[in-house]
Amino acid sequence: MKRNFTGGALTALVLALVFSPCNILAQTTINSSTFGMMEARWLGPGTMSGRISAIEGSWEDGKTIYVGTAGGGIWKSTNAGASFKPIFDKYCQSIGALAMDPKNAKVLYAGTGESNMRNSVSYGDGIYKTTDGGDNWTKLGLANSEHISKIVINPQQTNIVYVAVPGALWSSSTDRGLYKSTDGGKTFEKILYINENAGCADVTVDPEHPDTVYASTWEFRRKPFSFNSGGNGSGMWKSTDGGKTWKELKNGLPAKPFGRIAFAVAPSAPENMIAIVESAETGLYISSDRGETWKKQSATMNVISRPFYFSCIQIDPKDPKRIYRPGYTFSYSVDGGYSFADASNEGGWLHSDHHALWINPKNTSQLYLGTDGGVYISLDRGATWNFVQCLPVGQFYHVATDNNKPYNIYGGLQDNGSWVGPSSAPGGVSNANWKAINGGDGFWVQPDPNNNDIAYAESQGGDINRVNLGTTKSINIKPQQGPGEEKLRWNWNTPIVTGQANKKNLYMGCQFLYRSQDQGRNWLKLSGDLTTNDKQKQQQENSGGLSADNTSAENHCTIFTIAESPLDEKNVWVGTDDGNLQVTTDGGRSWFNQAPAYATAGIPSQTWVSSIEPSRFDKNVVYATFDNHMYGDFKTYLAKSVNGGKTWTRINSPEFTGFAHKIKEDLVNKDMLFLGTEMGLFATLDGGTTWFRMKNKIPEYALVRDITIQPATNDVVIATHGRGILILDDVTPMRKMTKQIAEKNVVLFPPAPVSLTMGNFGGGGFPGTGGWVAPNAPSIPPIKYYLKDRVNSGDVKMEVYDAQGKLVQSIPGTKRKGINFIDWNLKMKPPKIATGGTKIDFSGFLAPMVMPGEYTLKLKVGDSTYTSSIKLMHDAANKDFTLADRTAQYKAAMDVYKMHEQLAAVVDQISVKEKLIKDNLDKVTDSTLKHNMQAYSEELEKLRAECLATKQKSIFADEKRLREEITEVYAAIVGQEAAPSNLQLQRVTVLQQQVQTKEKSGQQIIKKWDDSVMDGLRKQGLIKPEPLKPGDKKPF
């Protein structure tokens, strides 16, 4: 019976699917497309870029360059690096390797999951391929590889592809190893596998004998509190049968165990190889017999430093003796690795920490280098470098804003210090607008809420400074170990947080929580050790494996997040990197660990508490995110408590991808939340019941580390770890969106009152000269409307009427699904100006701004009209432009406006008469009439030449006639926020007289010639009599 019922229900469901699709499709779901034109601005900066993990260029043209980034996807240049565009924004943003087909430059493979295995490295989801230069991508496979370090293509049979998969960083995995495809990536076979802890780090083929394949395997593992590079699984391998069989290369190499091995084969003499072998005595080794025997070379510290992180070594395509070692700095050898020199900083500093190098095979002096701070180009074989300033792929950890107008954005960048930059600036936000305020790796930066000149910034391990933003001088204010206290444990990414309820509070934490109320001059310890204080997780001095590596990146049992309730300064939350979630409600006198409570919600213990968001609407409500990826668990953990943390409920969604970094509650709508994860930005409008991925010009799998909302502008400011700062301007429409609104076909949102302005900035003198320039937020808020679906049939436009019902402006509307914007510049229609002549006159684009008042908005969508109104106010904040000034400006502007239209009427009439003469002159047989017509035309043309420029064609010629004279004063009056000057007004009067003179001249010419010419044409039957109708005005 039960079975029958189930079957019947299924049948009904299927029938419903088949026959009633409309009912099902009629549900309008709120998702990113609901918000249509609300698209993020990419603020950059490009002044400090982010880590570059792969570079591939075109062997075909030498100027098409693909750049793979640690967290910003793939960027393509077709002009050798003058400009770049992202081409991978729908996919995983962490790129490990790129490889171009040696026979078809349109074919490119992209391995996701960077393999520079530092603590903050992201992960991938497999290998992708494009066959059209990046326009379209197909995911091929290796979905569980997590990290791909290299892709090599057989130069003779390009369907044969080798993929080196180091594999999972944080867990064991059987998906590691060297993979081979013989069908262009459709299928892969694992051809070299050591064990679940050792993957393949590097691979290459002999260009002369492509069945000879070399590979290095690498045993490595990270834990939240340690790193190990090295083990018996590491080795150097060679196959001469395309990977069917392998032999380990040992002869001349150091004693095992090895760590990571980077190596290269000389393309022009492939019997020569070079390798950097991490071992107890890490060294540089060369072989001249295809790897059969090796010989150790002396090497500089840079050549052999930090092998787990610097895994790139290359040999010039044409010169087997010229070797490049991108490492901590850039080293090159001209003698096959016997000696090395370092790049010069002449011409500019070359950022440290190098991971990728592409040598242009068409011009081997031209090199592209990928560093922790972006891409550099050398034209002299690596001796000196130029920085590419147009790649906005910075890796922010945190973001904050101040309350200036326009507000400033503060944040810290991986390996690129701490920065402040404006949200808008004259000409757009350029690299030059950003200011470096602190060095090292940057993390938290907090502006002082009470002092616009001060910010707090840090470098790794909690080295906090109070920075004077004017001078950038800084004072170290890091709390110090007290008598009898344990050594302080500062997270690599130590939290610095200003108070939400009490803006004087400044917090930071090691294992203890500190608070200062005097800008860090004095600190109060608010707690005991809030971590688990597990000594097994505090052995960082032994971290690194074969090569010691202790940079504070593995510091553990530390405080990782701090949040003061916006409703009560005594209610402070602390999350640690070892799973504790502590709360005090009495300003730190007592603390309660809520870790057991959240664990009952299904969140693993010892998880990093990555963010805590106490609600600003209800003191008992708090949200938190948890990050367990360092235990190999990439699930998205988000939870909510409604009783001050006593119990927790996990919030989940099938939309979620990536481990969670940040939960942010809206400032106005308590049900609107944003979630940032390692793979995307998500939003909910119903308190977390349903979520959608934000795609609004936001890379779909962006690494979203932090989110803040600027209270005055309602902008959502997003810190990404690979795409810099993204700003979603004014999210008010999101706050107001409901299912009921979303179900309506069209909604015109009533605009808030607007101050009349010509914008926040002047035009500047010159366009930008390169680098990354972000557009500004709109100076005038756009008028917003919602369309349930894209309008394919029928037009959309907005009409604006003044209080008298006069149409003052008509603006075409966009038709996309969701929220649409109409930008009205608050001006009326420009005047009709005299047409023709040899010069472009820009008055046709200039219009006076309308006066303050109530204006009616009519949105016309097809045959339907939707009405609202907008209140325009005088901008009282502009003290240089009073209401009296505005009134005087408007009157003068309209006087000149009318003058333009008067002159246009004169010239139009000339054109009408001249056309008539020109059309008929050849047909006229009467010689007197012909003569009169020619004389008439000459006088008209003479008048036209007095009305507008007709002679000089050069754009640099300065022929000025009456139209141009009017435009000069018109542009001056309408183009600025100022009352007209006395001489401008005087000039208006003079020009009015001149226009009247031209009108009279026209009348006289007409009077002199028109009747006789028209009569003559009628007599010849060339025009029909057209008697004037009653009420018609005679021309002129």
Binding site: G7, V18, S33, D135, N136, R790, D795, K815, I833, G844
Partner: protein
């Protein structure tokens, strides 16, 4: 047994959804515009259109003759711009030029000759020597579309985005300096700059032809056609690289 039946139906539905070939999509697109025969019957076009920039009106008049002529004249109040492409040569006239019709570079002429197609390069694409590939479905500003890559016989690519619900073409993109529009399709010549053209406001003319009456090109604003005439005689002087009078604007 019932489970197999249901599975079969669901599988069939899935296959129906998946089974769209590139020709199915193009056929549906042509049907939405009145059918292939109707589209192929267009041998000449004459359009007048208007764009609005903050109240300043820009008028454009175009003439097309299948495989022979493309001519556009744009008047923006204080200046004008004209373009003439035939099956042999091309010219442009702009305020920044000599003041006359200046010859176009050969490469540009070649890329612009796809404008001589009165219907659309998609229509009868194989006969025209083009190749079409259905890339898949793609979201265009919230609207689900089929993405078709058309490789013109000249070697240039155009991506077409066709609304899966209405089968209307709503966007096309191409690299370089090509121009879109019915009969459009760009070409290379200006690097890797992507040209985007959006189509909307589909309406049927009195003689039964369906056209997108509004065409938007990025920063170029939206042009709305006021009049579209099909298969009306085209004056032979339009083939000449000379300034002519605008029909609805006086210009000397």
């Amino acid at each position: 047994m019932k489970r197999f039946w249901l599975t079969g139906i669901l599988a069939g539905l899935t296959m129906l959804a998946m089974a769209q070939s590139v020709d199915d999509v193009i056929n549906n697109y042509m049907n939405a515009l009145g059918g292939k025969d109707k589209l192929l019957s267009i041998q000449s076009l004459h359009t007048t259109g208007i764009a609005n920039f903050n109240g300043n009106e820009v008028t454009t008049e175009t003439w097309k003759v299948q495989d022979k002529l493309y001519r556009s004249e744009t008047n923006f109040g204080m200046g004008s711009f004209a373009m003439l492409v035939t099956d042999e040569k091309g010219w442009m006239k702009s305020p920044r030029g000599s003041g006359n019709f200046d010859p176009m570079p050969e490469e540009q002429v070649k890329s612009m000759q796809s404008m001589l197609d009165c219907s659309n390069p998609l229509v009868n694409y194989a006969v025209k020597g083009h190749k079409a590939e259905l890339i898949g479905k793609e979201d265009v500003e919230g609207t689900e579309c089929y993405k078709i890559k058309l490789t013109l016989k000249s070697g240039s690519d155009i991506n077409y985005f066709i609304d899966t619900k209405t089968s209307y073409l709503i966007r096309e993109t191409s690299k370089g300096g090509g121009f879109g529009g019915r009969g459009g399709g760009g070409g290379r010549g200006q690097g890797d700059q992507e040209m985007k053209t959006d189509y909307s406001n589909y309406q049927k003319t009195e003689d039964g032809y369906m056209f997108a009456m509004t065409v938007s090109r990025g920063m170029g604003g939206a042009m709305t056609f006021e009049k579209i005439e099909v298969n009306k005689p085209v004056d032979s002087k339009l083939y000449k690289a000379e300034q002519i009078f605008f029909i609805n604007k006086q210009s000397i």
